[in-house]
């Protein structure tokens, strides 16, 4: 491979340089200065040099080592001035940003000890290739980004920072890392108006993304960042992951539980997977299933009647990612939902709340509206002692720290409004997707009258009628308020002063009503935990309710750490340190009262086949396995070689080393 030549000199300077070697040879011929030396006789010398004189010019040239060394030195210097360079595998640019993916999928072991180690090794190589004076920054990213090392030219600090990147079980999002990276490359602007100017000089940088590319393409303008995507992992990496694990009541027999698991094969080949189900780390069931390439498979384990416990599912496969081969689910001991019904008397609802089935999930207290003024209610409502308060045709002066259902009245909070009473509204739309109205058909429900509602902007209409929304729901500071614009049982004051009652709808005599009541308890009441398993993804927050006001809580992580919780508002704690997957225990005064599981359950992370290209801001970035070539200049080495030649010449001259 021939080198390219640059040049440090201008034309006339080159002319001078080119004239030096002939001048040097000329000087050698002229021998301007010969030292005279008197000898006894030149007799022998004449005879010695006689035949050397025959073709003396070339012989002398050929035999004069010093001249050759000097010419060589000169040529080396000229060559150095020519700035020869080769295309070499070296980093171009002088500012580098290394984005290292440390999400869950980077724990795959298809390359190196793990993909993260492979990425770290690659960044290590890149750091080695940095020229002196280059600066680099290292950012690790999963669902959030973390600056491991700000821009520095200290390779030791870079190496230390690189070494410090730990694997996580988080999902992947490149966006935040890009924002961090672009901070210096794309400086902000002073203002948005016409006079705007850049407050800082833009420092373009080369951006190296070391990832498997399994993330949502971020919508981001790269600006002065020059991206390079270095895919980590083998294209034929195989993985089978557990995508879901839950425990629910059997459809035919609610007393019996079933564990339901869904697995997905991300490989190109069908795979045989055997799954083990463990309760309290003891094998209780096992199954085997074959999953086609790219397909999902599910398995159901009948559990029988279990009170509580930790179920663990293990998929025994020989795949490249172990993190998603295990999942946990927690069946918490059933806790009765605490429900307060404030009513002057509403038999259909009272009846619906006190069936045998609802008794297993909720503890219902019925109080008259006068109760709302009592101290006991105020205290309990403020302390969040209720899961659900149903206000039947009445409204509290202040909303409680609980979910509420208001029937025929509006909550005393901003945002809620209603229109005048409407006669016989016809239900035209039911939001059956909402858990409250799941699987319900209200086509046979007639309403006598109703007040069309106008929920707040954050709210949602659940039942719409020709007159307007009849049932709506809106969030309120961590709780939800559901409001019914129609009543189940109305009261009317007759002319004689007596109170007459009338039926506001035929819903309570339809099949859907008890289902609604159950949904209500299920959705609003804490009883959900008794029936459904709780599982969150890593880093998702978990809201923990204290069993009693003022209790001190402690969370034991799967890794064995104990984290004390500071009390949030209204006796609720928000626990966010769920980066680790596994089972977390919540203790109150040393007694475990709740468990929850954190599982990966992320198809994006379980899909470990690296992408061939990634999109950043709709700009495709192709995978680059070979580093960008760069001019690798060697003039420094040439000068060093020249110095060696000079030393050699000096040595030969002084030590009379002859050819």
């Amino acid at each position: 491979m021939w080198p390219d030549f640059g040049s440090m000199l201008s034309g006339w300077q080159w002319a001078i340089v080119a004239a030096i070697p002939p001048a040097m040879i000329l000087l050698y011929f002229l021998k301007l200065k010969r030292q005279p030396l008197e000898v006894p006789s030149t007799y022998l010398w004449h005879r010695s040099i006689e035949d050397l004189h025959v073709n003396s010019i070339w012989q002398r040239l050929r035999r004069n080592l010093l001249l050759f060394l000097q010419l060589l030195l000169l040529l080396i210097v000229i060559l150095a001035l020519l700035q020869p360079s080769w295309k070499g595998r070296q980093l171009t640019g002088d500012r580098f940003i290394f984005l290292v993916d440390n999400s869950a999928s980077m724990n795959a072991t298809d390359v190196g000890p793990s993909r993260l180690d492979d990425a770290k090794a690659k960044v290590g190589e890149l750091i080695e290739k940095m020229k002196s004076g280059d600066v680099a920054m290292i950012v690790s990213f999963a669902d959030s980004a973390r600056v491991e090392q700000m821009f520095t030219d200290d390779r030791n600090r870079l190496r230390r920072a690189l070494h410090g990147i730990r694997p996580t079980q988080r999902s992947t999002s490149l966006l935040e890392a890009l924002r961090v990276a672009s901070g210096l490359a794309n400086p902000g602007r002073s203002s948005e108006d016409d006079t705007d100017y850049q407050v800082a000089e833009a420092l373009p940088a080369d951006l190296y993304v070391l990832s498997d590319g399994q993330f949502t393409p971020p919508s981001f303008s790269l600006g002065n960042l020059e991206p390079t995507y270095v895919p980590i992992g083998l294209p034929d990496a195989a993985n089978v992951g557990i995508m879901a694990l839950s425990v629910r009541r059997g459809e035919s027999n609610p007393e019996l539980f079933q564990a339901f698991a869904r697995l997905k094969n991300f490989a190109d080949q069908p795979v045989q997977v055997s799954v083990d189900l463990l309760l309290h780390d003891e094998l209780i069931d096992a199954s085997e299933l074959e999953i086609g390439a790219g397909e999902e498979g599910s398995v159901v384990f009948p559990l029988g009647a279990i009170e509580s416990g930790v179920l663990k599912l293990k998929a025994r496969t020989d795949d490249d990612l172990a993190d998603d081969d295990e999942a946990c689910v927690v069946v918490n001991p059933p806790r009765l939902a605490r429900v307060l019904l404030v009513t002057t008397g509403d038999e259909p609802l009272e009846f619906g709340l006190q069936t045998e089935l609802t008794k297993t999930v909720a503890e219902v207290t019925i109080e008259p509206p006068e109760f709302l003024k009592k101290r006991e209610y105020l205290d309990r409502a403020a302390a969040g002692a209720y899961d659900l308060v149903i206000y039947d045709r009445c409204a509290p002066p202040q909303m409680p720290q609980a979910n509420t259902l208001l029937i025929g009245s509006l909550p005393p909070v901003d945002g809620w409004a209603s229109e005048p009473l409407h006669e016989a509204p016809v239900i035209i739309d039911v939001e059956t997707g909402h858990p409250l109205l799941q699987w319900m058909d209200l086509g046979d429900v007639l309403l006598l009258e109703g007040t069309p509602l106008r929920p707040p902007a954050s709210g949602a209409v659940l039942i719409d009628s020709d007159a307007g929304p009849m049932f709506a729901i809106a969030p309120r500071e961590g709780f939800e308020d559901a409001v019914m614009g129609f009543v189940l049982l109305g009261e009317q004051t007759e002319e004689d002063g007596t109170t007459a009652r009338y039926v506001g709808t035929n819903w309570h005599s339809r099949q859907s009503f008890p289902v609604f009541v159950l949904n209500l308890l299920d959705y609003f009441g804490g009883g959900r935990g008794a029936m459904k398993s709780e599982s969150v993804r890593p880093t998702q927050p978990v809201v923990i309710e204290a069993p009693s006001p003022g209790a001190k809580l402690r969370v034991l992580t799967p890794g064995g750490d104990a984290i004390s919780l500071s009390e949030g508002r209204s006796g609720k704690f928000s626990f966010t340190r769920t980066a680790e997957s596994g089972v977390y225990e919540v203790q109150s005064d040393g007694k475990t009262f709740r468990r929850f599981a954190v599982n990966l359950f992320d198809p994006a992370e379980s899909e470990i086949r690296p992408k061939e290209k990634i999109d950043i801001g709709w700009v495709p970035v192709e995978a680059q396995t070979d580093w960008e070539v760069a001019r690798r200049e060697i003039w420094k080495w040439l000068l060093l070689l020249g110095l060696v030649v000079l030393l050699l010449e000096w040595y030969i001259y002084n030590r009379r080393v002859y050819l």
Binding site: K31, K33, R34, Q35, P36, L37, E38, V39, P40, S41, T42, Y43, L44, W45, H46, R47, S48, I49, D51, L52, R60, R63, N64, L65, R656, Y658, L659
Partner: protein, 295 residues
């Protein structure tokens, strides 16, 4: 008269006293000396018997033999004579090199050999090449002449301008007698040494050629680009010292020495290469002894 000489140290003198010059030829001397002469005569060293012929001196008849054999035999004795020893020193400018200079070295050697001769009662003559044909050197004889001889040698100055052939020719013209000639020269004559040596050979003398070379000539320690100036004729030789040139010089020198040795050997001359680094004492007591010049 100095008590010691720079030429000969007392220790060397003591050692030289026990030596004697040996000639491979037996020459007729002029005076009775300590040499056997081809002339039979009166000495104590018996030589031969011969039959009596009338007229012979009856004093030499061996009467014991006559008593036994009843025949007259004459006892013949070797007559002891003196030896002519010549030292011919080359005192041209080229001999003024080296440490000690080749001339000093040659003078020292001549003094040593001359002293041996003096001690043994030989006729010793120290001459230089540059001497005109008509001017003869004094003859030294007897131990008492030692200081005179040394004085004479010390007065030899380098820088005589004469070719080797011319000098030898003049020497031969001056000295027609037989004897031992030791030529002390570097033989570096551009016109060649062969003619000069042939002159010597024709004299029928016992000839020793001692080629004196300095260390600078045998192994020159020079470097760089040089203009060599011949000290005698001012001839120039421009050289650039390099390994090939030095090798070639060594080869030339070796060839020169070998040729001279062979030339001498073929003509019955003894050749000896003397380096000025080797002390004269070692040369005389060791080397010349093995070569048979001294005993």
């Amino acid at each position: 008269m100095p008590e010691t000489s720079t030429l000969l140290s007392p220790e060397l003198l003591a050692r030289l006293e026990r030596m004697e010059l040996i000639s491979r030829k037996i020459f007729r001397g002029r005076m009775k000396g300590e040499r056997r002469s081809p002339r039979k005569g009166q000495s104590v060293e018996f030589a031969d018997f011969r039959s009596y012929v009338p007229g012979d001196d009856l004093r030499f008849v061996d009467w014991n033999t006559y008593a036994r054999l009843e025949k007259l035999f004459l006892k013949m004795f070797l007559e002891e004579e003196d030896l002519h020893f010549y030292a011919l020193i080359d005192a041209t400018a080229s001999m003024d090199f080296g440490e000690p200079t080749k001339l000093q070295y040659a003078a020292q050697l001549a003094a040593a050999l001359g002293f041996i001769g003096l001690v043994r009662g030989d006729r010793v003559k120290i001459e230089t090449l540059g001497q005109p044909a008509g001017q003869s050197s004094p003859v030294f004889r007897g131990r008492r002449s030692m200081w005179r001889m040394l004085d004479h040698i010390e007065q030899i100055e380098p820088g005589q301008v004469i070719s080797l052939t011319e000098g030898v020719k003049n020497f031969c013209l001056r000295n027609s007698g037989k004897g031992i000639v030791v030529l002390l020269s570097d033989l570096m004559d551009k016109s060649g040494y062969e003619a000069a040596l042939k002159y010597l050979v024709s004299q029928d003398m016992d000839i020793y050629v001692v080629q004196v070379l300095s260390a600078e000539e045998i192994d020159p320690e020079i470097q760089g680009d040089l203009r060599l100036v011949d000290c005698e004729d001012g001839d120039l030789a421009e050289i650039t010292v390099s390994a090939p040139l030095m090798k070639r010089y060594q080869r030339t020198l070796a060839a020169f020495v070998d040729t001279a040795r062979e030339f001498c050997t073929r003509r019955g001359m003894a050749y000896l290469l003397a380096r000025n680094e080797v002390p004269v004492e070692d040369l005389v007591t060791g080397y010349l002894r093995t070569r048979g010049l001294v005993r």
